[in-house]
């Protein structure tokens, strides 16, 4: 259940931003979660509701954007969508592929009331 520690990391980062901007609450937060990041969206949703209670994010409207996986074949150079870390290249069947998208775990933006 590392998703709860992910949520607590988000709470810490959000609290830092709120402090820097002297805001007492955050209105909205947008996260980008890669499909290959190792974080399950369902588990994150569950952990979120528990993890933000009484925090700076308690009232915040949240938006999770799932970033689909993409990889590039190291043998033939093809860029193609992937859903797992072991999808082979659809053209040359090579497993030598580099994931180019989908590992993201990012706080994209935070909306708060400015002083």
């Amino acid at each position: 259940m590392h998703e709860l520690s992910i949520v607590l990391s988000v709470v810490d980062a959000a609290a830092q931003v709120a402090q820097e901007n002297q805001a007492e609450r955050i209105d909205a937060i947008e996260l980008e979660i890669g499909a290959l990041s190792g974080v399950e969206l369902d588990a994150l949703e569950f952990a979120w509701s528990e993890g933000i209670k009484r925090s700076i994010l308690a009232q915040a409207e949240k938006k999770f954007t799932l970033i689909p996986g993409k990889a590039e074949c190291s043998d033939c150079g093809l860029s193609f969508p992937v859903t797992t870390l072991y999808d082979p290249c659809p053209i040359c069947n090579s497993y030598f592929v580099q994931v180019t998208q989908g590992r993201e775990l990012k706080i994209k933006s935070i909306t708060l009331e400015a002083v």
């Binding site: 259940m1 590392h2 709860l4 520690s5 992910i6 607590l8 990391s9 988000v10 810490d12 980062a13 931003v17 901007n21 002297q22 805001a23 007492e24 209105d27 909205a28 996260l31 990041s37 190792g38 974080v39 528990e50 993890g51 209670k53 009484r54 797992t84 870390l85 072991y86 082979p88 497993y95 030598f96 775990l105 990012k106 706080i107 994209k108 933006s109 935070i110 909306t111 708060l112 009331e113 400015a114 002083v115």
Partner: protein, 287 residues
Amino acid sequence: MCTTCGCSSHEDGVSITRIGAEHQHQHLSGWGRFWHFLWYGPHQHSVPAPAAVSTGEKKTIHLEQDILAKNNQSAQRNRGYFEAKNILALNLVSSPGSGKTALLERTLHDLREKMNFAVIEGDQQTTQDADRIAATGAPVVQINTGQGCHLDADMVYRALHELRPAEDTVVMIENVGNLVCPAMFDLGETARVVIISVTEGDDKPIKYPDMFHSAQLCLINKIDLLPYVKFDLERAKDFARRVNPNLEFIELSATVGTGMQSWYQWLLARPRVKLNPTPVGTYSLVH
């Protein structure tokens, strides 16, 4: 002191214990906090400072910040420390029961005159593993994560302050037995070693791909039991190579010793490993 739970230190359930030294432990700030949170429910540990009066104007800050930025920053700090002291730091990850501690015991015993070792043990509870390591004579620190399912870089950073490894040491970090969560947390290690045993399923690499994707070496342990279990070595390797074509493999048995030489050769081939001086002509890898 926290008025809800009565804890005297930080909001946390993590403790760090130097085995063999005078008993001491410290609470950590960090993710172990979540166990504390689950146990006691939401509560405030300090009174927040009064906020400035808001103008009501909304502002969106485009952060583009990695959620694990704090962990990664700590990991980089550990990495710099390891580099400066020429320390080879290995993060050993596996399911529970794959034989990580037995592998360490044998390695530390066999190579004790060739290299300097220090060990960080990660477990939810008890110092049993650290006690086993301490019996080999190697310095060891136990991190108990409470209900935590992985080590993070800050725990290791604090454990290093207790351990204080000398230059040219090989630091073995035995992560919490869990093939899922530790994959996400960089500890600042030089290399990640994933261990599976033949008593597990040979399809584990594609069932838990993240760990195999981030490792450089895969040790397949308990091969002395191969005649008794349905484990296809080549199938397991094939699955692991689909996830990570660059992964190296060593088959061994920490209990009976088969294959341990290959593991020692791998260790010796790491750039940061410096052998203790031995008289010319008397060198042998294992006694």
